[in-house]
């Protein structure tokens, strides 16, 4: 059961979008659309939004693959906000511990035959964001990323 959504201003805090989804691939497109719309309304540039959408796609896909043994039973909380200088995203799930910041980086400068077909998702997150943190808090995975705004 999803928690009630909230999108409200707090005193001296930027407006935040926060909602919960099931850990399922079908949830990703509508979740990304909500975050895209929220950040776009706050004037965040398309490159920063593209990077944030990449994070949602890759981190949630990894959570589904590694953090949840029973598909569809996991819950993921998505929180997004924008400051004057950057767009931020926090993804929190109740799955098994999985630290994506420690995932090995694939060697991408090889021949076609040696080009890796796995591990590219976390590599993209590293390349497209300006900050990438992980914490394990109260048996929950918490991934936080931020991207500098061009506008």
């Amino acid at each position: 059961m999803a928690k009630p959504d909230r999108e409200a201003s707090q005193p001296e805090a930027e407006p935040r979008l926060c909602f919960e989804i099931e850990a399922a691939l079908k949830e990703l497109s509508p979740a990304s659309a909500r975050v895209r719309s929220f950040l776009s309304e706050r004037g965040v540039d398309r490159a920063a939004i593209f990077a944030i959408e990449t994070v949602i796609e890759e981190i949630v896909t990894n959570a589904i693959k590694y953090a949840f043994r029973s598909p569809g039973k996991g819950q993921i909380i998505i929180e997004a906000f924008a400051t004057d200088s950057r767009a931020e995203l926090i993804l929190e799930d109740n799955g098994d511990a999985f630290n994506p910041t420690e995932a090995p980086d694939p060697q991408v400068n090889r021949s076609l035959e040696d080009m890796p077909i796995g591990g590219l998702g976390i590599h993209l997150v590293r390349e497209l964001t300006d900050g990438f943190d992980y914490q394990r808090i109260n048996d929950r995975n918490r991934v936080q990323v931020w991207v500098h705004r061009e506008s």
Partner: protein, 103 residues
């Protein structure tokens, strides 16, 4: 030469749905493939993986794959993955076709 277009939001769920057909229309034909990316708005790593697998499959039959006109944001993701080091990305169709004509 096979020319086909990918369009819209190419997230993991979409790629899982289209990959069998994409492979049938590329690798299985064993001919050079030009993929028009100009209408792609978003691309997950699974899409890059599909394109790499197609390029590898074509290479094993002596053919090649090239991409045409990705948007700047899609091209940035492709380059971040190292894709451009092993598969051609072009913004001019004639040049792209010339690059594939020998394969």
């Amino acid at each position: 030469m096979t020319t086909l277009s990918l369009e819209g939001r190419l997230d993991a769920a979409t790629i899982m749905a289209i990959q069998p057909e994409f492979m049938e229309k590329t690798v299985a034909l064993k001919k050079p493939v030009l993929v028009d990316m100009s209408q792609v708005t978003f691309m997950a790593s699974l899409c890059i993986r599909m394109l790499v697998e197609a390029a590898k499959g074509l290479k094993s039959s002596g053919s090649r794959l090239a991409l045409l006109r990705p948007s700047p944001l899609v091209e940035k993701a492709l380059k971040a993955s190292g894709f451009h080091l092993v598969v051609g990305i072009y913004h001019d169709e004639e040049t792209a076709r010339e690059s594939l004509s020998g394969s």
